[in-house]
C-alpha cells in the first residue's frame, strides 16, 4: 500500500536568534488527520518550531514542507501557504474594531473573493461550531477570553485550512475558560482536522495527542505516540510530565 506523504515535515531544522540556538536540528512530521502535540519547557523551542511551519520565522537551514510546498524556499507563495494553514495565537488577536462576524468574514471576502452574504452565512456556521452563534454581531471586547479564543478559532476555520496550528491557545485563560476552548479543539480532532498543538495542559495533551514531540534545549528529545506521556523513556520527559509544567 502506498503511504500518503505527510502534510507537515520538518527536516533537520536549525534556527538561531542571534547567538541563541533555538532550534537545533529539529525533525518531525505530521500526517493527514494526525494530531501532534508539542510539549516542553518555556524556551525549549516548541513555539518557534510551530511558527516556522507558517513561516512567521525564517529558518537558518534544513527543510520544511507543508502541503507539498517548500516553506523555506525564498520564493514561497506566502499567501497560498497561509490559505492552507490556519494559526491561532495565545493572545486571540481578534480585530477589535470589527464585529465577530466581520472578523470571520474578512479573509474569505478579501482573500477568496467570497460574496458578503455567503461569507456571513459561513461566519454563522463557524460560530455555531464553536458554540457562539449568539455572538455574531458582538465586538471582541464584549466577549470573555474563552469566547474570544473560540471566535479566533472560528475565524481560522472559515478559511478551510488543511492544517491548524495552535500556539499555547489556553495560556491566557483561567482553568474554567480553558475547558471550553479545549472542547472545541477536541471536536476538531474528532472531525479529522490535521493539527499541531503547542500546549502546557498535560491532561489535554494526553487526551488529544496521537503523536507527541517533547522538545528540550532546541532538540526533539523524545517523540512517539501519546503513550510516552505515561511511560516516558528519558528522565527529562519523566521529570517534565511529573511536575506537570
Amino acid at each position: 500500500m502506498m503511504q500518503e506523504s505527510p502534510l507537515v515535515v520538518l527536516d533537520r531544522v536549525y534556527k538561531s536568534f542571534g547567538a541563541l540556538k533555538v532550534l537545533d536540528g529539529v525533525s518531525f512530521s505530521v500526517g493527514r488527520g494526525d494530531v501532534l502535540v508539542l510539549i516542553g519547557r518555556s524556551g525549549s523551542g516548541k513555539s518557534t518550531a510551530l511558527r516556522c511551519i507558517d513561516r512567521f520565522e525564517k529558518i537558518d537551514s534544513g527543510e520544511i514542507h507543508v502541503c507539498g510546498r517548500r516553506v523555506d524556499a525564498p520564493d514561497i507563495d506566502l499567501r497560498a501557504l497561509r490559505q492552507d494553514v490556519g494559526i491561532v495565537f495565545q493572545s486571540y488577536n481578534l480585530f477589535p474594531h470589527l464585529t465577530i462576524a466581520q472578523n470571520i468574514m474578512l479573509a474569505p471576502v478579501s482573500v477568496k473573493g467570497m460574496h458578503k452574504a455567503a461569507a456571513r452565512e459561513l461566519a454563522a456556521t463557524m460560530l455555531a461550531k464553536v458554540g457562539l452563534s449568539e455572538k455574531l454581531d458582538a465586538y471582541p471586547e464584549q466577549l470573555s477570553g474563552g469566547q474570544q479564543q473560540r471566535a479566533a478559532i472560528a475565524r481560522s476555520l472559515a478559511m478551510q485550512p488543511k492544517v491548524m496550528l495552535f500556539d499555547e491557545v489556553t495560556s491566557a485563560l483561567d482553568p474554567q475558560l480553558t475547558g471550553e476552548v479545549l472542547k472545541v479543539i477536541e471536536a476538531l480532532a474528532a472531525d479529522g482536522m490535521t493539527m499541531v498543538i503547542v500546549t502546557h495542559e498535560m491532561g489535554f495533551a494526553r487526551g488529544i495527542a496521537r503523536h507527541v514531540v517533547f522538545m528540550h534545549e532546541g532538540k526533539v528529545h523524545e517523540a512517539g505516540t501519546a503513550s510516552i506521556l505515561t511511560t516516558p523513556a528519558t528522565p527529562e520527559l519523566a521529570q517534565f510530565v511529573g511536575t506537570g509544567l
Binding site: 497561509r82 490556519g86 495565537f89 488577536n93 480585530f95 474594531h97 479573509a107
Partner: protein, 227 residues
C-alpha cells in the same frame, strides 16, 4: 482715554466676512484631505524597508517641522511662479497648507501605526491577507482611532494657521479683515469680530470631526466609549 467701540460699519460688511469664512473652511478642507492622505502614506513610507523611501519621508517631515509656515507658503508661491506655473492664490495656499499639515499628520499617524500590536498584524497575515489588505483592513482604522484626538487638534490648528495665507492674498477670513479694517478704520472691532468667527469655525470643525468619528468608529457608538 476711553474705549469707544462701534461695530456698525464693520457688521454691515458681513457678507465679506461670510465669504472669507467659507474660503477658510474650503482651504482647511482641501489641505486636510490632501495633507491627511500624504501624511498617512508618508507614515507608512517611514516604516518602509526601502531606505530611499524611508529617508525621503523622514526628510520631508523634518524639513516642514523645522521651517515656519509663512516661509513654506512663500516657497510654494514663488517657486511655482518661477518655474512658470500660474495658479490662483487659493490653489497655492491649499497646496502649501496641505504640504504643511501632511508632515504633522505623518508624525501623528506614525505613533498610531506603532500602537498596533504585532499580534494583530500576524493574525491578519496568518489569514493570508496581502500587505495592502493588512494595512487597509487591520491597521489603518484602529491606528486613526488611537490618534483621533491628536489629529483633530492638528487639523483645527491648521484651519487657524490658514490665516497666514492672507499674505499671498488668498481671500480668506483674515484677508477680509485686513481689507475691512483699512476700509472702515475700525481695526479693533474688525479683529474682535474675526476672532469670534474663528472660534465659531473651530467649534464647527470639532463638531464635524466628532460626527465623522461616529461614522468611522461604529464600535465606539455601539458600546458608548468616548474617544
Amino acid at each position: 482715554m476711553g474705549l469707544n467701540l462701534d461695530f456698525s460699519v464693520v457688521l454691515e460688511r458681513w457678507p465679506l466676512f461670510l465669504d472669507g469664512a467659507v474660503m477658510t473652511l474650503e482651504l482647511a478642507f482641501m489641505a486636510i484631505l490632501i495633507g491627511g492622505a500624504v501624511g498617512t502614506l508618508c507614515a507608512v513610507g517611514r516604516g518602509s524597508s526601502n531606505r530611499f523611501i524611508a529617508a525621503l519621508c523622514a526628510g520631508y517631515v523634518e524639513a516642514i517641522r523645522n521651517t515656519p509656515l509663512l516661509v513654506q507658503i512663500f516657497l510654494v508661491y514663488f517657486g511655482l511662479a518661477s518655474i512658470g506655473f500660474k495658479f490662483s492664490a487659493f490653489s497655492v495656499a491649499a497646496v502649501a497648507l496641505a504640504i504643511n499639515v501632511g508632515a504633522y499628520t505623518a508624525e501623528i499617524m506614525r505613533a498610531g501605526f506603532e500602537s498596533i500590536p504585532t499580534g494583530q498584524i500576524e493574525a491578519a497575515e496568518g489569514l493570508a491577507l496581502s500587505r495592502v489588505q493588512v494595512y487597509w483592513h487591520v491597521i489603518l482604522l484602529p491606528a486613526i482611532e488611537k490618534v483621533y484626538p491628536s489629529l483633530t487638534s492638528q487639523f483645527v490648528l491648521l484651519m487657524l494657521a490658514s490665516s497666514v495665507t492672507s499674505q499671498i492674498s488668498a481671500e480668506e477670513l483674515t484677508a477680509v479683515a485686513n481689507y475691512v479694517q483699512s476700509d472702515t478704520y475700525r481695526a479693533f472691532e474688525t479683529y474682535i469680530l474675526v476672532a469670534l468667527c474663528y472660534v465659531v469655525l473651530s467649534l464647527v470643525l470639532r463638531a464635524a470631526f466628532w460626527a465623522l468619528g461616529l461614522i468611522l468608529f461604529p464600535r465606539r457608538r455601539r458600546l458608548g466609549t468616548s474617544l
